[in-house]
């Protein structure tokens, strides 16, 4: 292991971790406030990537695709909350699991019917289509730095929103003591709608942002869904701060594992999760299990 290659791998780990954060922060928020686990969260990531692909193919501009993906996320999230999830908050776990499992199937079939099943690549914007040498014999695509920057900016905005805004205060309260929201006399429906829309938009944004780096292909969100679950379990359910540090940790471990110990890389994060569960069953930053 040489120092330059270690640096390059750290950058890879950071970028992967930040992407995981965008996905898992939405998952943990939606769980923390609404109490539903959305198995279709990985499909939302997939939808974001395909939205970026379709818009970029039609207009030739990824810059346009990104805001379209964010907006689609807000609209899609609002619709899902208003017409489906709202009726499931009080239902049994099994119903919620099956509802979201059905959504996975429907999103995948919808994708298959509308765009098809081919693997498509999404071009990096011309202005950013160059590489920056970072160590001897290894360059880093400029767009990857953009992804890192955008993810960091989004993370900062999310923290500010949760820590400083009134809605954020309600969200924090709701994540700790759901009954408090009712006691405060706030319309919980507005809180639910907002949180669901933001969580969905985060997933779609992650997909769109990463589309030029991952390409788009069927079931692309499946694996990320499972890893995001691990992130949320390690970070603590409902904790956005926990999701942040846990996502970075997993991004690093996964990348370093692939680079230096490929034989055990696949298992490393699960072993970590088992360890955390033994030590702190409610996760590193969790309030309750």
């Amino acid at each position: 292991m040489s120092l330059p290659s270690f640096l390059a791998q750290s950058l890879n780990g950071l970028q992967y971790g930040l992407l995981l954060f965008l996905i898992s922060s939405g998952l943990t928020l939606i769980f923390g406030v609404l109490g539903v686990i959305n198995l279709a969260h990985g499909s939302l990531y997939m939808v974001g990537a395909y939205v970026a692909f379709v818009v970029a193919r039609a207009t030739g501009s990824l810059w346009l695709a990104l805001p379209v993906a964010v907006l689609s996320g807000i609209v899609l999230g609002s619709l899902l909350e208003r017409f489906l999830f709202r009726f499931f908050y009080k239902r049994e776990h099994l119903d919620q699991v099956l509802l979201t499992f059905a959504l996975i199937l429907l999103f995948e079939e919808g994708r298959s019917l509308s765009v098809g099943n081919d693997f498509y690549s999404v071009p990096i914007p011309q202005a950013l289509n160059f590489s920056i040498p970072i160590v001897e014999g290894f360059s880093y695509a400029a767009y990857r730095f953009v992804v890192i920057g955008v993810c960091l900016a989004l993370a900062a905005a999310l923290f500010l929103w949760i820590e400083r805004s009134k809605m954020g205060a309600i969200i924090r309260a709701a994540a700790e003591k759901p009954e408090m929201v009712d006691a405060l006399g706030i319309d919980p429906r507005r809180v639910h709608l907002t949180v669901f829309a933001v969580g969905t938009a985060l997933a779609l944004t992650a997909g769109a942002l990463n589309a030029p780096l991952s390409s788009v292909y069927p079931n692309m969100g499946d694996n990320l869904l499972i890893i995001s679950f691990v992130v949320v379990v390690i970070g603590g359910l409902g904790s956005v701060t926990g999701a942040f540090w846990s996502a970075l940790l997993i991004g690093m471990i996964d990348t370093m594992g692939k680079a230096y110990a490929p034989a055990v890389a696949g298992l490393a994060i699960y072993v970590l999760m088992a360890g955390v569960l033994l030590w702190r069953p409610s996760g590193l930053f969790g309030q309750r299990a």
Partner: protein, 394 residues
């Protein structure tokens, strides 16, 4: 239901007319022969590999049309089944065709995991089966079966040739990058053998999970490996992304690979693929009369250019025809049938091919170089390369 009854009655009547005309046919099995030959096409018609399944189907149908709709004197009825490229449903889907629909011949499939399921079923039932794509080496090695043939390739073949080419060119050390699944690791093994047999040194096999596209952790290692070349096996969109990421990472080590790295993907790879050398049993600018005619006919039928998958499907039909003609459509005569297929010399669009003792295709492997958006054939690396077929007892 009513319709299909009517249809089969019509076919029987037609068959009867044919029988009356050809009175030299012995009557003992003539009645069985007058039934149409049921050919099951178990291929992906949905999912990632849908287009491969469709191209294979077009090519098979095209060959049948060239033969006037008959193989070995029998009408042919196709029964298509979408295998969805789902390995866990493989055995059940194969049983649908073999047991429920009682097909005489099964042509399929693309996905090697699904092929394992088909193989299990047909090995037991004895149904004549031709593989038009899936390249898992085991199926024509230790798991080989007397009733199963392959007209595509074994994963070992193209990669072996690539190893041979590099070593002969003077490359001392090389590594192989691929997805960690059968096609990937088997091609890595072929590359290693080809390289080492000609004096090169195989340094390492780098893998990532299928079908992930986060290649960065692997690319960042390449400089440290101290190799003169990197070989790769990826296919489809994964190949597009890999070639682009490889170029963006500014790695000085030249990239080459099994032909699938640049097959059907050049549009997406653009300039990043320029100059990449790959090895495969087909390519652009292959000049022979058969290929020219084949490509024109395929384009007329399918509305798009033929590709290597279409060639493999076409040859599956050619191989079947060779067998059926030898037994005049009587599949019961297994000995003659298999013998004829084993010794068939087929004029394929890719050049001449034949069958190895373990029923895998023996073929030329070409060196191709990406030039102006095409996989231009440069030379033949190995003529009539056969998979070793280790462990096969037929």
């Amino acid at each position: 239901m009513t319709k299909s009854n009517g249809a089969s009655r019509r076919i029987i009547l037609k068959g009867g007319a044919a029988l009356a005309a050809a009175s030299t046919v012995p009557t003992g099995w003539a009645i069985a022969q007058s039934k149409p030959l049921k050919v099951g096409l178990m291929l992906p018609y949905s999912g990632t590999f849908a287009q491969l399944g469709e191209n294979i189907t077009h090519a098979v149908e095209m060959y049948l049309a060239e033969k006037g709709g008959k193989l070995g004197g029998r009408d042919v009825q196709f029964i298509k089944l979408d295998d969805e490229s789902k390995p866990d449903l493989g055995p059940q889907n194969a049983e649908r065709l073999v047991k429920r629909d009682a097909v005489d011949v099964l042509i399929g499939t693309v996905h090697s995991g699904v092929q394992m399921g088909i193989h299990k079923v047909v090995k037991e039932s004895g149904t004549l089966t031709i593989m038009p794509n899936a390249g898992n080496v085991a199926l024509t090695r230790d798991l080989c079966a007397k009733n199963v043939f392959r007209t595509s390739f074994s994963n070992w073949q193209p990669a072996y040739a690539m190893g041979v080419h590099l070593a002969k060119k003077g490359v001392k050390k090389a590594s192989w990058i691929t997805w960690d699944y059968a096609a990937g690791t088997e091609s890595g093994q072929g590359f290693k053998e080809g390289l080492e047999a000609n004096g090169g040194q195989f340094v390492s096999l780098l893998t990532l999970k299928f079908p992930e596209t986060n290649f960065q952790p692997l690319l960042a290692q390449i400089q440290g490996l101290g190799v003169d070349a990197i070989g790769a096996f990826f296919a489809g969109g994964g190949a597009v992304q890999f070639v682009k990421d490889y170029a963006a990472a500014g790695i000085k080590v030249p990239l080459c690979g099994s032909g699938f790295l640049t097959e059907g993907t050049l549009g997406g790879q653009g300039a990043a693929a320029d100059g990449i050398e790959t090895a495969l049993h087909y390519g652009d600018g292959l000049e022979n009369a058969k290929n020219t005619a084949f490509r024109a006919a395929f384009k007329a039928k399918a509305g798009r250019e033929a590709d290597v998958y279409a060639v493999q499907g076409y040859d599956a039909a050619q191989l079947l025809a060779a067998g059926l003609e030898a037994v005049k459509g009587n599949l019961e005569d297994e000995k003659t049938l298999y013998k004829a297929m084993e010794s068939a010399k087929i004029d394929s669009p890719r050049g001449s091919i034949s069958m190895s003792p373990s029923h895998n295709v023996v073929q030329d492997i070409y060196l191709r170089k990406v030039t102006a958006g095409q996989n231009k054939v440069m030379s033949t690396i190995v003529t009539q390369l056969a998979d070793p077929g280790t462990g096969c007892k037929i």
